[in-house]
Symmetry: C2
Subunit: 214 residues, 2 copies
């Protein structure tokens, strides 16, 4: 039995607060404010977020994905459609995205429904990726069990040999998902765990907001 | 309609790799290795992780929690039992923890079942918290809707006035959860998205491991 005693690790968040007297009407505007603040600080992987999905037997699963577009108020990421997340989304497309921007002591939690984007839009993004990432998408069967000593270098070299001077086509099993949000919460860490929380919920075409207790 | 065009944000992970020829037999050992590495670098909030739960209508929900102990191979965090996460766990105790250590390009994904720890153990941790955090736990009805202009300072002052010179008792609605893991995946970012993934699954009393495709 192994132990790790870390109850003395403790940050007291105090960098900022949410000004509840002057709240953005639209959460997408606030998301863009916060996102651009992270980006302007050149923090690493500011577009990384944890995507949670649910299996057919109601077990949650989460992994990091990278937000690639926020388009018409929808959050878009790309993946292998045959991965575990793809399989889970095909049965239950309720998902949650969690951005935790630790340096700013901020968190954004997004609930919504995920659907595949159009093949054309997936092609556009695939074609804009570096060739090495295109090859990566072609040679990996994401989430499948592989030999412990597997060497992807061989796969990549073999693929390059077969596709010399040819444009690499997006594989059918690879593409984007768009998340249409219906709930977005903004969280700003505060001293003594009395954090600021602002929840937006979609009500027909409008967003309404509420403050939540810490 | 708002847009954010960020498809040019791109990190090519290359800091480390998993040595598949020399794998730890027990994932808890590997977790401790990776955790201590983060801690030794003094990164902020290395014990922060995203906890995912599932609602009774099979919608995932995720938020950051802080790991406070790893004890007898179980992962322990503390919260308000009446919060949304507490309510969801009481109906479905399948949860997922996701640690994303961005500076090391590492991720650990833990699946397990959450149960409340003993009242004595919750008391022990509560009594070790700073008094301001103890008061915070007493005055906040976590996740409840509150007035947009609510001022916690008043609640804290009122609580202090009522409890002058008295030891603060842990409220019944506040305590720890312990997660018994049955699946732990280690992910190390690699160039061109051909990441290293090592999955451990509990099989009776033993852990077996497999390598997963990127």
């Amino acid at each position: 039995m192994k132990n790790l005693d870390i109850n003395n690790l403790r940050e007291n968040y105090n960098l900022d607060h949410i000004d509840f007297s002057n709240v953005r009407k639209n959460p997408i505007d606030l998301f863009i404010d916060w996102f651009n603040f992270e980006k302007s600080n050149n923090y690493k992987d500011v577009n990384a977020c944890v995507l949670s999905t649910v299996s057919s037997d109601n077990i949650p699963s989460s992994r990091v994905v990278l937000l690639k577009y926020l388009k018409n108020d929808e959050f878009i990421f790309f993946t292998n459609y045959n991965s575990n997340k793809g399989k889970e989304i095909s049965c239950n497309n309720n998902v949650c995205l969690n951005f935790f921007w630790v340096n700013s002591e901020r968190q954004v939690r997004i609930n919504g429904k995920a659907t595949k984007i159009s093949e054309d839009d997936s092609d556009d993004y695939f074609n804009a990726r570096p060739i090495e990432s295109q090859i990566g998408a072609c040679v990996s069967s994401q989430s499948e069990i592989i030999d412990i000593a597997h060497d992807f270098t061989n796969d990549v070299e073999h693929f390059k040999f077969l596709h010399k001077n040819k444009k690499i086509k997006r594989p059918n099993h690879w593409g984007g998902y768009s998340i249409i949000p219906h709930k977005i919460e903004f969280w700003q860490g505060r001293p003594s765990r009395l954090h600021d929380r602002l929840l937006y919920e979609k009500c027909k075409e409008d967003w309404i907001f509420k403050r939540l207790s810490a």
